[in-house]
Symmetry: C2
Subunit: 264 residues, 2 copies
């Protein structure tokens, strides 16, 4: 199912939207966090009549299973450049799944100074990367709905052994030629295997507490080159810093999430 | 006036708090963003009965002048480890100033694996750094309420000329020996001069759209060593990534803000 279809919401009233968490967007039974947050952002885009997320933060409150959801939106400010919107996704029974706060606007070419102190992640060509494919066991069904090709050095639990560096780099696109828009970047920023899988640590999973994605501009092309890095595993937490680059070698989005480390 | 006094809020009802934006916490007439966000977080801490912000995001909606404000809180989830709270600061007339969403909890020593791929910023001793002092003109009155000592290489518009690198490093503490708590880290993450001041670009100011601060643990000691870096000035935006380290050489907090570049 396309991303656009899987995140469709329909208006119930001025602040309530009906949507559905679709099957096969889950990791081991729980819907992917970026996907849930994109449902919230889709409603916020419609509520604010602004096409693009500029900076969106989601806090993940409960695991989500497939089924109908409602999104509650409130436009806190509608300014000239940006509208600030909160949007919460709840189950049909009212249980909160994700709470979001974001600023939305219209992204496009701007006449402003530029300076970049970074380069896109160095990735082998796609056919030399390792496709993450859904199987009956692992990886999860979510991988049917995204196309991920990992840098061979960063394949988690790979046959060559984990590289010991909490880093994941790879290619991302939607399957079936679906165009990538700025809402899709929210999913891309949470679609890759956790960096911790490559850290040679006895950690099997790191639930996301919060994810923030900054979108700089609309992506050109279908492929993104992405990198996710963790520098601080401390205090029972870790961050994952993401960079998403498009086919024009432009930084399209940055993301950071705070994840929880299981207690030892 | 101490930070604790300047961010005091008193309960009006279960979801409303009364506070005041104090004089001398402003930059050229507008209250510092981190200070405003700390008022919101103070109310969220009280509403959730959790002592520490863990990850707090603020979106800045309007410039704030000194005067009474109300904070509206809603505890969206109160879980075992964290409570997720939204808190909005509005003027007495109801105009929204900052909207926040955060997860709060109790930070303390944890038994979990650690790995750090970074070191604290290299700073000369405090007496060899450059104190940012409030004067009648610039820097702003806010500097009466924080103690900032900048790395001599990073003094904005310094006599030696701007270094051309959008980076600011320095020491931070509260004046008059006030103890630094985790709410204060929100101010510290927004207290330094903008990195853009050191970029040799014709940009005089970069308003913050959104600030997110992750707090890893409670700081030990009175001094923080902080660094703020910008790698991407693109699309009309820039990020500022902050690291705050305590006297035990521990990373206490990370921050990232998205700021707006004036159009050329």
């Amino acid at each position: 199912m396309s991303f656009a279809a899987a995140t469709t919401v329909t208006r119930v009233d001025s602040s309530t939207w009906q949507g559905e968490v679709m099957p096969h967007w889950d990791i081991v039974g729980n819907a992917n966090g970026g996907y849930l947050l994109a449902i919230a952002a889709r409603a916020a885009v419609l509520a604010s009549e602004r096409p693009d997320p500029v900076t969106v933060t989601g806090h993940f409150l409960a695991p989500a299973s497939p089924g109908p959801v409602t999104v509650h939106t409130e436009v806190l400010k509608s300014g000239r450049r940006f509208a600030t919107v909160r949007a919460e996704v709840r189950t049909a029974e009212g249980k909160p799944l994700v709470a979001s706060l974001g600023s939305y606007g219209e992204l496009g070419p701007v006449d402003a100074v530029e300076r970049v102190d970074a380069v896109p992640p160095e990735l082998p060509p796609i056919d030399q990367c390792v496709k993450v494919e859904a199987t009956d066991s692992f990886p999860p069904p979510f991988m049917d709905n995204v196309e991920l090709y990992l840098h061979p050095e960063d394949v988690p639990f790979g046959s060559a052994g984990s590289p010991g560096k909490p880093r994941v780099r790879g290619w991302f696109r939607w399957p079936d030629g679906e165009a990538l828009d700025t809402l899709g970047l929210i999913v891309a920023s949470d679609a890759f295997p956790p960096t911790i899988f490559n850290a040679n640590l006895p950690v099997a999973w790191t639930p996301t507490i919060e994810l923030t994605t900054h979108v700089r501009e609309r992506p050109v092309g279908e492929w993104l080159r992405c990198s996710f890095n963790t520098r601080f595993i401390t205090g029972g937490f870790l961050e994952e810093d993401g960079e998403l680059w498009d086919e024009n070698d432009r930084l399209i989005a940055q993301s950071r999430q705070l994840a929880l480390l299981p207690r030892g």
